[in-house]
């Protein structure tokens, strides 16, 4: 049987990659840019949230509960409730943000949350007006 010279020698070209720059990021120092529109954690502008519970209704995983906030943010809030999301059930399909009539509920590009207590996966969306202020 003839020796497949090309088949033996050509894989050795992989040695050349030893001198290439690695493709990985050195994570804690260099972080990946997360693009605009990434479906990360929820944020909610409480000053425009009207408490209509559209998000609760469309959520197919029953992940959203309507609860009372610590104080009244929006006078026009019809039910006086704001959404809270169970991140044990959420699938980040972003139907709730599509359906939100005032457009107050949004998805942020932050996506890290670690906790040893499963009850802390009941996530209160951050008030995104405040987030904007912090950033600026």
């Amino acid at each position: 049987m003839a020796i497949d010279v090309k088949g033996v020698l050509s894989p050795l070209s992989a040695i050349g990659t030893l001198f290439e720059h690695p493709r990985t990021l050195t994570y804690p120092e260099v972080k990946k840019d997360i693009p605009i529109g990434y479906r990360g954690f929820h944020i909610n502008n409480l000053e425009t949230c009207v408490g209509c519970a559209s998000c609760e209704e469309i959520c197919m995983n029953d992940a959203i509960d309507m609860i009372h906030p610590d104080r009244e943010y929006n006078v026009k809030n019809t039910s006086g409730c704001i959404p809270r999301i169970d991140y044990g059930r959420c699938c980040w399909c972003s139907l709730c943000t599509d359906v939100c009539p005032p457009g107050s509920l949004k998805l942020d590009n932050i996506c890290t949350h670690a906790d040893c207590d499963p009850d802390n996966f009941l996530y209160m969306p951050k008030n995104h007006k405040n987030i904007g202020e912090e950033a600026s």
Binding site: G51, C52, A53, E56, D65, M66, I67, H68, T78, S79, G80, C81, R84, D86, G88, D119, L122
Partner: protein, 202 residues
Amino acid sequence: MDLASKLEKLSLELVQKQDYLYSVTIDFERLESLLLSFLNEFGYITLDSINCRDDLEDGFFTITYCLQTEERDHVVMIQTKIQRENASLPTMHTIWPQAEIMEREMHEMFGVDFPGHPTLIDFALEYWDNMPPLRRDFDTLEYVNSMNPFREQRNDALDAKEEMKKKREAKKAAKLKAQQEAEAKAALEAQNNPSDEVKNEE
């Protein structure tokens, strides 16, 4: 289409559903012979899938055999209805080997029996002793609730519609109260200066 005229001889109608999709409806007794003539005479050699739909209200299953020719340029759905109770279908695994696994799945999910099928064993659900799960009278929510508890920490969830009603009523009550207060104030003022009223009356 050529097939339409062939089916007309068998007094069957070929319905075009989409661009590449046709359907034939047939009664259960003639199903097996029609499938065989599709395979042997009309050249529909591929059995693409066997689908089952549960029409609970009318009490039957609608079975769809999807067939394709060697060209694979269109799909013909052969549809038939069988009784939901003690449902049974002829097995096709001797003609199309892939029917064996499709029928095994349908047996598990819908409880359709296939007399003569060699391996009607468990498919995906091992040791399942409930009703076949894809029948529409099997309630998944009830089953899940009986198996798993809901997370207790979420019991403080409120019904937004109730809250809206409450808030509206509270608003109404507040408005009413304000009105009453205003009226009472007016009445009090009227009591304090009775002379004006007397004057008006005059």
